[in-house]
Amino acid sequence: MSTTKNINITLKIWRQKNAQSKGNLETYQLNNVSTSSSFLEMLDQLNEQLVNERKEPVAFDHDCREGICGMCSLYINGRAHGPDTGITTCQLHMRMFNDGDTIYVEPWRSTAFPVIKDLVVDRSSFDRIQQAGGFVSVNTSGRTMDANAIPVPKADADKAFEAAACIGCGACVATCKNGSAMLFVSAKVSQFALLPQGKVEATDRVLNMVRQMDEEGFGNCTNTGACEVECPKGISIENIARMNREYLSASATSDK
């Protein structure tokens, strides 16, 4: 067990009044930060300091603070969710930093994720991609068949589950040099394409979701693999290959 200590850090944080304003990096000194605190708790501490100084606190996204909601974002010292793998920012701890460190905190940078304020970005482009096809149409009148009534091979169920672990945080887009959303979209396509319930609408789903993804202004995938390294849920680029296959066969067979 490592022992808790307090460190002093310098923060360079992106401040932007609203979507229209230009924004710039501001420097803040924060002392006595416990290494046991999470990154978001450290930002809470900074905001308390700013409020006491009668300054505007830093706006940042957060919700569950246990790594499952996908709300916390932040590009920390040049990496999505900071200097660790398989975590969201709320799971990043200050023990990853040293006394005297300068920490850069920036919002996700993407045309499709415009900054609303400070470190908060608008990720509703992901919602619109989901609405374009990331669902299974089921009659929910009360006579819904139990999903377990249809046999699913264990291997397929596992892969679908791995894809469904995506929390839509946008780290894949943020870290991709092309600002591509293919890991997110491919995870959503895959989780259904692998299951019998999802096969019914598979053709339209992949065509519609890719079309929406392109309309939102995300970039193109060049297979650098950065997304799967930074994904907090370890979503594999195998899913992107699956989406490419689905898209190719859907394009060839669809009468649209």
């Binding site: 992106w14 040099k177 591509s180 890719v210 392109d214 970039g219 680029i237 394009s251 669809s254």
Partner: protein, 228 residues
């Protein structure tokens, strides 16, 4: 094909991969023929004569190749421009080397360098060839002594050390391009498999090292041994 396939991000990466596969096969073929020049001047001349006179190669494969190169280049530039537009504001601090290779991030730069080399390559070999055959109307493929002209043309180009240097450097860039491009093309067309992908990646590295190294060897061989 559905409407919009060639305009969609996924459709375009598939087309980029298919043209890449075609160029990979072409490069292998080009390498085998060039390697003949080291083994036997006569064999090199004979195969060059075949390639230069066979109507299927001249009038079908040559235009297809030209289209393939231009398509891969223009599509690459188009996608790169879109990708740049997807992130207009860069990060103040970025650490991409943690999660991706230099080769995978710089395909546009290595690709553009290869394209510039191709311009020189066409100036050296292809334009004179087309001029001799279709403008001057000399379809004999012979030199003044009544021998095939291909081998001596090859030697002639490998006498200038600057040109040989540029040639070798271009193949270093090609190697970097292929390091990522080979395995990336398989991923783009949807071929990703826990069993086969590791083999494809190894094969890609082998191809990306061996073929450009072979071309460099051929250039140096003629420069050091035959051209003087």
């Amino acid at each position: 094909m559905s409407q919009g396939f060639s305009k969609s991000s996924v459709g375009r990466k598939i087309l980029m991969a298919l043209s890449g596969f075609f160029l990979l096969i072409f490069l292998l073929q080009h390498f085998v023929i060039n390697m003949l020049s080291v083994i036997s001047a006569d064999a090199f001349n004979d195969v060059s004569f075949f390639m230069g006179t066979n109507p299927l190669i001249q009038y079908l494969m040559q235009p297809v190749l030209l289209f393939g190169v231009l398509f891969h280049f223009i599509m690459g530039i188009t996608l790169e421009r879109q990708n740049k537009a997807a992130r207009p504001i860069q990060y103040a601090v970025n650490n991409p080397s943690f999660n991706s290779s230099w080769m995978s991030r710089n395909m546009a730069i290595t690709g553009l360098t290869i394209f510039l080399f191709l311009a020189l390559h066409f100036y050296d070999f292809w334009f004179p060839e087309i001029k001799t055959k279709f403008i001057d109307g000399d379809m004999t493929e012979l030199n003044a002594n009544g021998e095939f002209r291909f081998y001596e043309e090859l030697l002639h180009k490998f006498t200038n050390p600057i040109r040989v240097g540029i040639y070798c450097l271009a193949f270093v860039f090609l190697s970097l391009h292929l390091m990522h491009g080979f395995q990336s093309a398989f991923q783009s067309v949807g071929l990703n498999h826990r069993k086969y992908t590791p083999i494809i990646k190894k094969l890609g590295t082998l191809y990306a090292v061996a073929i450009p190294a072979g071309f460099i060897f051929i250039a140096l061989y003629h420069f050091l041994i035959n051209a003087h």
